[in-house]
Assembly symmetry: C4
Homo-oligomer: 266 residues x 4
Amino acid sequence: MRDNHWKIIQFGKLPKLNNPVFIEGLPGIGNVGKVAVDFLIDELKAKKLYEITSYTFPHSVFVNEDNLVELPIVEVFYKELKGKRDILLLGGDVQPIDEISSYEFSEKILDIVEKFSGNEVITLGGIGLADIPKKPKVYCTANTKKIIERYKSDLVSNNLYGVVGPIVGVSGLLLGLATRRNIEAISFLAETYGHPMYLGIKGAKEILKVLNKNLDLKLDISKLDREIKDIEKEIIKKTEQLSEVTSQIALKKLQKKLGKDVDYIG
Amino acid sequence: MRDNHWKIIQFGKLPKLNNPVFIEGLPGIGNVGKVAVDFLIDELKAKKLYEITSYTFPHSVFVNEDNLVELPIVEVFYKELKGKRDILLLGGDVQPIDEISSYEFSEKILDIVEKFSGNEVITLGGIGLADIPKKPKVYCTANTKKIIERYKSDLVSNNLYGVVGPIVGVSGLLLGLATRRNIEAISFLAETYGHPMYLGIKGAKEILKVLNKNLDLKLDISKLDREIKDIEKEIIKKTEQLSEVTSQIALKKLQKKLGKDVDYIG
Amino acid sequence: MRDNHWKIIQFGKLPKLNNPVFIEGLPGIGNVGKVAVDFLIDELKAKKLYEITSYTFPHSVFVNEDNLVELPIVEVFYKELKGKRDILLLGGDVQPIDEISSYEFSEKILDIVEKFSGNEVITLGGIGLADIPKKPKVYCTANTKKIIERYKSDLVSNNLYGVVGPIVGVSGLLLGLATRRNIEAISFLAETYGHPMYLGIKGAKEILKVLNKNLDLKLDISKLDREIKDIEKEIIKKTEQLSEVTSQIALKKLQKKLGKDVDYIG
Amino acid sequence: MRDNHWKIIQFGKLPKLNNPVFIEGLPGIGNVGKVAVDFLIDELKAKKLYEITSYTFPHSVFVNEDNLVELPIVEVFYKELKGKRDILLLGGDVQPIDEISSYEFSEKILDIVEKFSGNEVITLGGIGLADIPKKPKVYCTANTKKIIERYKSDLVSNNLYGVVGPIVGVSGLLLGLATRRNIEAISFLAETYGHPMYLGIKGAKEILKVLNKNLDLKLDISKLDREIKDIEKEIIKKTEQLSEVTSQIALKKLQKKLGKDVDYIG
């Protein structure tokens, strides 16, 4: 673990949480997970607990509406729900840039889950299809059969084996690495359109219904479409900006390649 | 050595092995080595000794038939063979992702060989041809002339020099790095079809014949074709899943490149 | 922080600087920032304070006019301005090669700013357009609203939000990372032509006007075009040389790919 | 410095060398430097002093004429020349795989030079032209004017500035990094054909003439063409093998990219 590549800043006092469920929704296919978690953070009025930056995130800053710069960050929020299990939420701008960083990041997140004696992790994501799905199905996979049983319902229509390939990135690794810590973990993946600029709002809605029912969140699903407009705006802005970073790098490399072609030394 | 990038979990008590031969068969050309070792593990009813995971393996999880996730792993099994030399077997889902990890992994494996006072390593692999070979030949190379002499037979028709290039990855490095530890090491490489989706079962069979004869394993070679059906299914599943990971990454990069093309800052 | 990848050599005695402003101008789009800072170093007769080399810079040496080799370097200069705030200037041949190095480098630079109790950082760069701009506009963004207010003038016509994407590399990271150290930081970005061989001298001029006015530098802007001839020559030489390095590497890789196509082992 | 990535094995007792000149010739453009140094090692009957292997070298093994595997290595030889300055020679199969490794390796080599109180380093290389040169010119560059003066002769027709770009890799870095240790260093670069499979024997000959004259080596230049046949054979073999490694990797990546194109998760 290259600890000095990671910076975790805590906001406010450490809350005492009641048997919290940890829910992850970072950028990914259709940003399905991110849309769902960002909505939960807003709608539940969750409080910010941690801000994570890392040398393994893209080496650039965003410019926000106030014309101020922001480093790419990942954040953890929490919500105390009286009489029910509390909730921890993981959202953010980016995922780590490479394999090793992705493992390191997932371990750090599970450290946080353990800090609050959490024993349940839910990760959210999308399944990219070649066409826009009319009514996206939600699939699940997990690291124990028990947690699949607990979340079984008519909203989760299918199991994931055979439908698609492996789960890449933090949404997958959190499940795999949680096993060793005896933390149960499940992933809900909604169908979405596989185009990188498509925002999987419909898929996110289906996932939110699953969470709403199982965790008894009393979300006003009707508010969803309105709220999502703001989230959409911000996500599209940042996604565009990040594609530009990548495209700049690609462009520069290409131009350098084409720029010169003879007389070299070695 | 970035020790914290590697996790080795031991299963059961450490056995006392009698002068064990260590046999490696990880994914590679035609998965020849993997098919052979996976068959040996099944057929010899070998016991699991170590499970190895690493931050240098792909950052994704597989979904298995029970709809449960699995981290990519590499495993070491052992088999006690009364009155004969015992056997250690190395199989798994993946090889490390880059050069440095490949060296580190190979050193860790040789540490295990030394732990059991092993003085012989056998690595298995394929030689990719442009066409499907009817009767695949088995070639060998090694780190001492003595071990080549010991394994000489009419089943190993040729020596490798001049036939092909270097041996890439763990199958090669184990031989090269074993020299320094005074461990003799030999590699058996069977001809196979060089297409990435082709499973080199015929080649694996030829290699199994070599091992069966030399190590007196009393394998029922007739069972081979039946058994291999199950192995095949699992390997193809995982190989497909891993290609998808790579193709996703490639696709995303490409889409990002094409997504935007003007107005950039630096 | 991989400290042994970085070497910072100090020249002369450490000066006592009066509330210094730190100005960065490294290679980037149109080399706008580099042209501006190199002019400031010459024109203000700034003194060299630090020379920075790094294992994360390109692994090559330049050949200079005296036929002597030079490692790629980044330099910090200072200028004492009686009765006014002193100035620190950061210029050089290159930026670090990857994300992690870029973060590490930016932190090391901010360490230098803090060493002199600096509380203001200015980074300079270009905005690449599809065509050559006749009268390049200068945009700004920052990490506090206060610093934007202080540098507001009719020379800085626009704010950056919505115009372009994120700010990539050291010019962006210095702003983002300065926030945590309570250092105010602003970036001035001038429009320029996005072609990699185009030198954004006009854009650099517009930025120099902004600095001249705000920092009361009493620069003879008329000298600019003459002076810039020498700077131009050196920059073009080094940029060409660096493109060659990249193109060599690309070329070699391509040639290797195409060189062989059958019979491989693994 | 990632010290555990490097392994240096010493052969025999440490000799006491008289003010040794250190000469480098690793693989590069046209393998000009390698051909020259390999000839010197043979012709001077130099003794092996160090064998260097590294996790930053390609992760593969060569198969030699005896059908035995060999890790990619770099070697240091020495030759005591009575009444004259002794000589250290650096040759080998490969260069480190990336920027950071290239810097690290060059520092380790300069540590060896200092161990023998060496104060002069000579690096050898090629300048790739678009056509095969009939009579290759030898150019030089260095880290001090003094050493250029010392090696001036009608055999070294030109200085390097303006002719070509930067010197990439170990041949360049040794010069740049030697400056800080007050070691004088010069590079001789001979014109050669820029095709990756072309062996720059003519260029190597011209460089050998320079060394023969300046260091009074009493080489039998007439032997050169004969000797070189063996060297050629071995170099071509290893170069082919290494291209294959790279081409395999490229091929696999390409096949994976093309293998699958829909339904992905994240």
